[in-house]
């Protein structure tokens, strides 16, 4: 526990850890000192002067070095001659802060009057209007009138594209440098800077391509005015028209907590997503999300959405009723005599995957997961993954991060931010082994190279040295990827890494363990709840594919049942098509790559007659004679928790638990933390790794020979997929360059 010091703010005394800034100490007791440049996640710079307060400290007698006391024995407080910035001053014992004096009031008024001298005050057409710190603070602390001449306002460019995704309005910018500091301190892409000085000072980018960062969207959230807007959302809606639904990003294994902002539109006959915003979860994404999570949501209202079941008749897919389609599916499955492959994609929620698994097993189908490779090692991650109470924020000096075959920024962007901070800001050691360079390489204290696809062999050869390095560390986090490996070899890699944990005594310890870079939001969950077969038969009579992205994964079959949200290439080869719902149109749970089970809620109505996957599974099951009567994912989760040992202690109630988080986000604290959303939907819960509950033996590993198919498996790079915003040439450019490095 850090040393506590007592500070009195407007008569209220509070004990806070040494080093706490006055502005944060005040926030903790509900005294909202206004700020613009200060942001609790960034280093203070004291640029805007909005936070001026009156600060005094106990007077010390220079001779005796003792606190001087008045006749009543109280310390004499010596106030500083001028007001001081609360955002740069750390508290000290006995400090007295006054924020309610006439002097402070006048200072706030003056600063706001100054900031507004050349502010355009175009709130009625500003995207930030309605959730703007400058608007709110002006109302609370600003002068009623300005003494500056309206016509003397300094005008500036209003639509400056900083990159393809972010626009700058130069006259709205108040030069707080939050955006610059976010890019420098958090994202480590130094693409924004100030140019010139005084009145000419402005934000520029001179990078090539200009504002190119996977995290750029976050600058628009923390910009305290409407100076930065995203190309995707600008002028699309006013904040007060938006509805919010708490959700989980599906694009990678991090499981960032997000808020889907929707608005009623006539165009799609219902609500549509207008923007995706971060939702605070200090154990997952803090208040950040990456650009993929922020911008890739248009598919929910894509023209290619499937609205009705389809049945192939005389070579052509024709619309049908659910009754006809379900009956056909049931009859076909019954007639297939167990020669069935049921393949479930790793974006399917836990509840649905569980029901599908139950049904598949009951009808003798071979149940597998797509993509197939991660299902080879998900059980290893379940056994040796990070501990139940692991917190990346605690990783620092004395701890070790080992990254093997992992491109963390590409495959789990927000984990990149968090691991980078553990290393750069808090002094954890980073060892990297890969066949190519990644952004994480910048911070490594040791870099090893192996040939493409040779990660398992490398770990085996280096086992002694690695185990020693791990042993010397307080906690050891091992992040690994499966690029250029086939299933069996990826499994060997995971097992070898797990053995390292065992050998060095880290297995089953909270802040230690494996962190797999799975491809999607629910890879771990799907593997957990349906115990998949990893090997597929060479062919089958019937293939039932649920949310499978890659057609190549399917074995040849006489009859294809394709359950999908979009009209993909797979749909073209279908005999029956069952339209299902995206995560935005329903509720459910996902299990992240670090095994945190999290709830997401419904934001949009279903398109057409599309149905959730669990409903479809249940309807098919009933036609095959099973008496299933689940009414909601919540009921299925209850059954799942009884059946899947790892989930035994989890329930919707437990997952919906919310706790006070620091810094406070959303609510009236908008000016302080930006426009991220408060978490009211639950912070989720991580289930224990098996190694935490009992002693596990080491794996007996023989590394299989590499296969061509395995070697050819490139990494799943988040910014390379065609499913990213197709309109963005910037993002397309990233895809090409990444293909080259892969």
């Amino acid at each position: 526990m850090a040393e506590l010091v007592n500070v009195t703010i407007d008569g209220v005394t509070v004990a806070v850890p040494k080093g706490t800034l006055v502005v944060d100490a005040a926030k903790k007791i509900g005294n909202h000192i206004p700020v613009f440049c200060y942001h609790p996640k960034l280093k203070p710079v004291g640029m805007c002067r909005m936070c001026l307060v009156d600060i005094g400290t106990p007077k010390i007698d220079p001779a005796t070095k003792q606190v001087v006391r008045d006749e009543n024995g109280n310390p004499v407080i010596q106030f500083m001659p001028k007001l001081t910035t609360a955002c740069t001053t750390p508290v000290s014992e006995g400090m007295v802060v006054r924020t309610a004096t006439e002097q402070v009031r006048a200072a706030r008024e003056d600063i706001l009057e100054f900031l507004l001298t050349s502010h355009p005050l175009d709130c009625p057409i500003c995207d930030k209007g309605g959730e703007c710190p400058l608007q709110n603070l002006t109302l609370a602390h600003g002068p009623g009138v300005s003494r500056f001449d309206y016509d003397a306002k300094f005008h500036n460019e209003k639509h400056v594209p900083l990159g393809e995704l972010i626009f700058l309005d130069r006259e709205r910018c108040i030069q707080c440098s939050r955006c610059i500091r976010f890019q420098d301190e958090i994202a480590d892409d130094h693409v924004l800077q100030f140019h010139d000085r005084g009145r000419g000072m402005e934000i520029i980018t001179f990078s090539d391509p200009p504002f190119d960062s996977y995290f750029g969207g976050n600058t628009t959230d923390i910009c305290p005015v409407g100076a930065l807007t995203t190309a995707d959302f600008r002028f699309k809606a006013r904040p007060w028209e938006l509805q919010s639904a708490q959700s989980i990003c599906t694009h990678c294994a991090v499981g960032c907590n997000i808020t889907l902002n929707t608005r009623l539109e006539t165009r799609h006959g219902g609500f549509e997503i207008k923007r995706v915003m971060p939702r605070q979860n200090e154990w997952v994404n803090e208040i950040w999300i990456c650009d993929k999570g922020r911008y890739v949501h248009h598919f929910t209202r894509s023209e290619d959405r499937l609205h009705l079941p389809l049945i192939r008749r005389e070579g052509r897919l024709v619309e049908s009723t659910w009754q006809q389609a379900l009956q056909l599916v049931a009859d076909t499955l019954r007639a297939a005599d167990g020669e069935i492959v049921l393949m479930v994609g790793d974006r399917i929620p836990n509840e649905d995957a569980y029901l599908l698994g139950q049904l598949g097993r009951a009808i003798g189908a071979r149940v597998s997961v797509s993509p197939n490779v991660p299902s080879h090692y998900a059980d290893v991650a379940r056994a040796f993954g990070v501990g139940k109470d692991a917190d990346f924020k605690r990783l620092g000096r004395g701890d070790l991060v080992l990254a093997v075959n992992a491109d963390v920024e590409e495959q789990a962007p927000v984990w990149f931010l968090r691991l980078r901070q553990a290393v750069v800001d808090r002094g954890a050691q980073l060892i990297i082994a890969h066949h190519r360079s990644t952004k994480l390489h910048r911070y490594a204290s040791a870099i090893h190279r192996f040939e493409v696809g040779r990660a398992p062999e490398w770990v085996q050869q280096q086992a002694e040295t690695l185990a020693q390095a791990l042993q010397a560390a307080r906690h050891a986090l091992i992040v690994f990827g499966d690029e250029h490996l086939d299933g069996p070899r990826a499994r060997a890699l995971a097992q070898l890494l797990a053995n390292l944990l065992l050998q060095s005594g880290h297995a089953g310890r909270s802040d230690s363990g494996l962190l797999p870079l799975y491809p999607h939001a629910n890879t771990q969950g799907v593997c957990d709840v349906l115990s998949p077969h990893t090997a597929l038969p060479p062919a089958a009579r019937v293939v039932w594919a649920v949310g499978v992205g890659d057609p190549q994964e399917l074995p040849p079959a006489g009859f294809y049942i394709i359950q999908e949200v979009l009209h993909t290439a797979l749909v073209e080869q279908a005999d029956v098509v069952l339209p299902s719902l995206t995560f935005a149109e329903r509720e459910g749970t996902f299990t992240s790559g670090d095994r945190r089970v999290q709830r997401f809620y419904r934001a949009l109505p279903a398109p057409g007659e599309a149905k959730p996957d669990w409903w479809i599974a249940q309807e098919v099951a009933r036609r095959l004679g099973f008496e299933w009567r689940y009414n909601s994912p919540a009921e299925i989760f209850e059954a799942l928790a009884k059946d899947v040992p790892a989930y035994a202690e989890l329930s919707y109630a437990a997952l919906s638990r919310v706790v006070e988080q620091w810094p406070p986000i959303g609510r009236e604290d908008l000016y302080y933390g930006g426009t991220a959303y408060d978490n009211t939907g639950g912070i989720g819960a991580r289930y224990a790794a098996e190694a935490e509950t009992r002693a596990l033996p080491p794996y007996d590993v023989t590394i299989p020979e590499p296969t061509i198919a395995g070697l050819k498996r490139g990494p799943r790079m988040l910014y390379r997929d065609g499913e990213l915003i197709r309109r963005s040439a910037l993002l397309r450019a990233r895809m090409v360059s990444l293909q080259q490095v892969a």
């Binding site: 130094h190 693409v191 100030f194 140019h195 520029i204 980018t205 001179f206 990078s207 090539d208």
Partner: protein, 156 residues
Amino acid sequence: MLREKRAQDIEKVLAKYPPERRRSAVMPLLYIAQEEYGYCTPEAIREVAEIIGCDPTEVKSIVGFYTMFYEQPVGKYVIDVCDDLPCALRGADRFVSHCEKKLGIRVGETTPDGKFTLNTVMCIAACDRAPVLQINKQYRYALDEQTFDRMIDELP
């Protein structure tokens, strides 16, 4: 390419800094660029960024902050007249108007023949001999209209 044209000078500058502090060489390298091209060209800014291993945006920001780095082409002679307060008390503003008239351009502009650029600058630490200017960084003190005109007329 600056690196080819001024390889030795660049090496000399870089030698003064430990490799992990290369970034600190940004200002002397920009001076070399400015010497070579007359101003900090976009290409030179990118090249300097590459040499010291940082983002071009950061180098551009430095060029933008310091008034002695030029971002636009300048004339053969750059005249920086001080119009800060002490100089102003000695008639610098009137003197600047005269300079404008003599050269036929406004402050911040370059003569069409590319010979002269006229700027006003903050105090250049010669207030005791105001009005004062620097021409290509060489001081000229205690000027008046005649001495200024003579200086201009005599320059090759």
